[in-house]
Structure formats: C-alpha cells, structure tokens
Assembly symmetry: C2
Homo-oligomer: 280 residues x 2
Amino acid sequence: MGMENFKQFLAALVTAVSVGFLSIFFVLRWVLYFKEGLAWDGGLAEFNWHPVLTVTGFIFLQGIAIVVYRLPWTWKCSKLMMKFIHAGLHMLAFIFVVISLVAVFDFHNSQNIPNMYSLHSWVGLSAVIQYTVQLVLGVCIYLIPLTPTYMRAAFMPLHVYSGLFIFATAVATALMGITEKLIFGLKDPKYKDSPPEATFVNVLGVLIVFFGAIIIWIVTRSSWKRPSESVLLSLSTNREGSDGTRAGISLSQQPDCVDPEGSREARRRSGKLEDSGQVN
Amino acid sequence: MGMENFKQFLAALVTAVSVGFLSIFFVLRWVLYFKEGLAWDGGLAEFNWHPVLTVTGFIFLQGIAIVVYRLPWTWKCSKLMMKFIHAGLHMLAFIFVVISLVAVFDFHNSQNIPNMYSLHSWVGLSAVIQYTVQLVLGVCIYLIPLTPTYMRAAFMPLHVYSGLFIFATAVATALMGITEKLIFGLKDPKYKDSPPEATFVNVLGVLIVFFGAIIIWIVTRSSWKRPSESVLLSLSTNREGSDGTRAGISLSQQPDCVDPEGSREARRRSGKLEDSGQVN
C-alpha cells in the first residue's frame, strides 16, 4: 500500500471511528438527557438499553469487526489471529444485540405491549437470526481447521455478501426504530413540531447512515484489502510480492505478528518461523 | 458465461423482477383496497401517490436500471445503447420520484402538516438530491463524448458505489415511510393490534428488502458482469477473448446490436461494422 493510498485509508477509518463514537454519544445523550435514563425495571428506562446496545453493538462493533482485516498495521499479524479478532468483535456485538432484545421484550411484556407487530421488529429480528447463522457458519467454516480450503473459498462470496447485507439491514432497522420511538415517545410537542429531541435524534439517524456508508466504502475498496498470505510471506522475507494474487483464503503460515521488513534469517534465528505461535 | 452460470443469473433476475412486481402490486393494493385510493385532491388520496411512485420508481425502476448491463442477451448491443437504456430508466425513476415528492409536499401544505420534520424526510430528500447529482454527473461523464477516458475510469468506482448507496438508502427510506404511515394511518385498531393492513404492509416492507438484496447480489457477482468491449469484439469476430481484461470503460466501437456468433466478414459485408449505427 503506497503512502497516498494509506493516507486515504486512514482518513476514511478515522472518519468512520469518529462518526461511530459520535453515534454512541448521541444515543447515550438521547436516553440519559432527553429520556428516562438507563435501568432494568420493566419500564422505559429498561427499554432505553435497546437503542444504546443496538447502536453500540449491532452498528458500531459490527462495523469495526467488518473492516478489521483492512488495518495495514495488522498485516504483519497472522491471518488466524485476525480471524479471532474479527470473530471476537462480532461475538461481542452479538451479545450486545441479545441483551438489547431481552430489554425490549421484557419491557413490552411488563407494559402489555404486543411483541413483533412492527416492520422494525420483523426486519430487525430476521437480521439477528441471520447474524446468528452467519456467526455459526463463519466459525465452522473459517475457524475449525478441518474445513477444506475449497469449501472456505466457495463460501467466501456468500460470507462477505451476507455480512454486508446484515450490516446494512441493521442500519435500516435502526432508522425504523428511531422513527417509531420519536413518534411514540414525543407527545406534547409531537414529532411533527420538531422539538429539540426530534432534531437531535434525526441527526443520530443521519450519523448512523454516514457510519454505515464509510464502513461499506472501506470494505469494498480492493486496494485496501489485506494482501494474500503468500504476498505477505514474501514481503516479510524481503522477496518481491506477486501483486496479482489476491486469493485471500489461504491458511496462515505466519507467526502472530511479524515485522514485514525483517528478514527470514532474523526470524529463523529467533525460532519464530518454525514455532509459529499460531493460536490453534 | 457458461450455461450453469447463466441459469443462476436467470433465476436471480426472475426472482428480482417477480418480487419487484409483487411489491408494486402490494403498494397498489395497500392504497386502493386498504386506504383512500388515488387522486390529486390535496387529501390522503393524493398522499397515496407518494408510496406508489416511490416503490415503482425509486425502488423498482432504479433497481432494474442498476442491473441492466448484466443481461447477457444485451451484450451483443453496443455499450452506448446500453448506457442510454441505463440512463433512461434512471431518468424515468427520477421523474416518478419528483412527482411523488410533489404529492407529499402538496398534501402536507393542504393539511397544514409541517414538511421535512422526520428522519424519513431527511434521509429520503438527501437520497433524491444525491440521485440528481448522480444523474447529472453520470450523463456528463459517461454520455458526453468529450469526457476523456481516464476521467471516466477514475470516476467509475464512485459512480458504482454512489449508485448502490442511493439505492440502499431508497430501500431504507421506504421502510421508514411504511413505519410512519402505519403508525399515523392506523388508529382503531392500532398498528400494535396487528390489523390485516399492518401485516399486509409489513410484508410489503419485507418484499422491498428482498428486492434490494437480490439486485445488490446480481450487481456484485463479477462473473455476471458485461465483458469489456475488447472481449466482446473479439468474441463477435470469432477470435478468442482475453478473459483477464475487464476494464469495462472503453468507448463502444460496436453496432447497436450484433450477433456475437457472427463472423466479422459477415458483418463487414452487411456494412454494419463501418456504418456502425451508434446513437451519438
């Protein structure tokens, strides 16, 4: 990755992370300043965990998990370690989402509000179910060492497409959730009278769309992709990489993290290459 | 494109078109059977043009316009003709969207409902503004013959990304619009009581998401892309195509529609190659 390309990547990443943090700040300020705060009491303060945890988990953490392979300073780390970070972040996001669902179902049941009547709930729950399937299949196919390489390669386009589809669906579901909550939550003045809360939370919605847009931009730039393992290995041994090969789904044969500038001899002496320190 | 690959493409396309038509049927049945029908009277029947025209234009027509280069039976047509069809469908979609906006602003003004207060309106209007910019830039860069090839190539990643972003945003905006309308439009029974209209229109929302998902799937499969002009030209002259080249942004040097199986000699005799019948 050239310096100009690296700078562009960094600008996109810093923007994404900043907008992501700003979204989390906005959702926290919404529930803590404009609404009833956070509690686990079967009331509105319990419901409030729902937007907080979905924005933090299903939007922010999922988005970061998606782009984690793109960070150039991780390219010296083994593919397997990066897979664990990718899966770990998604797992954390999944836990956030599950708790956020418990909060809203518990709130509905306490208040005798029906569950699963809205389009928000239909699309949102199906996104969570797809996320579960994606996690299980992802672990089985890409982390269990027994899965043959051809199967990993064959499943990769679907893994990538489903991942981005679920992420985009999470963004769309958040927008529906915001719409619902502003209509139900604002009575006098109403949503249509544009009180400060309405404008503030509309901005949260725009921030979420912007975050989603940058994540998808980052992940779909081919020049920002992690080079295939063979290229990385040759770079790390000071041989010239073959730029054309971007298969991407080879088993890692690298130590956890190596200095791409270091020579094979140096690492051979340190015993790292043989005892490659892989996690599995 | 092999036969198996072609069958898979056809299955995806038929599904997309079927789901798209079903969405249009659903939105028509919604306004004609469940709601006040269609009219231009400043009342709810005028508002109803808004969902009908956005689903038909901003969802269905935009989606079809996006995948139109992928239809293998058009690969014998000149790239320029396909560009006109692509731009024409987007232009038609744009006209639908503009009328749909006039309907909702006119309805709001007649009923003294504020404009532009909701997240739906913020995200939706910015999608329409981006669509306008995309259309103007697209025509200037890809249809005006003066634009240099390097500029066409440099702008292509942004053109593709923006196009898919606007399309996905249109889908998300439709979901917010459905959410708003079901909450505002259903009073006794309410949305949360799940009357038939609520369930029916939730299904419309799911159909729209499904349509969007298939369109994005179709357009992101690299093996379903229209081959680059050089490959097509060599195929049409019975020489072997160089599979590796997929630059895609070369000026068309073909007749409007040629038979890829036909020999150069046959077409030379018919005078088509010289008098290439291009639209510009």
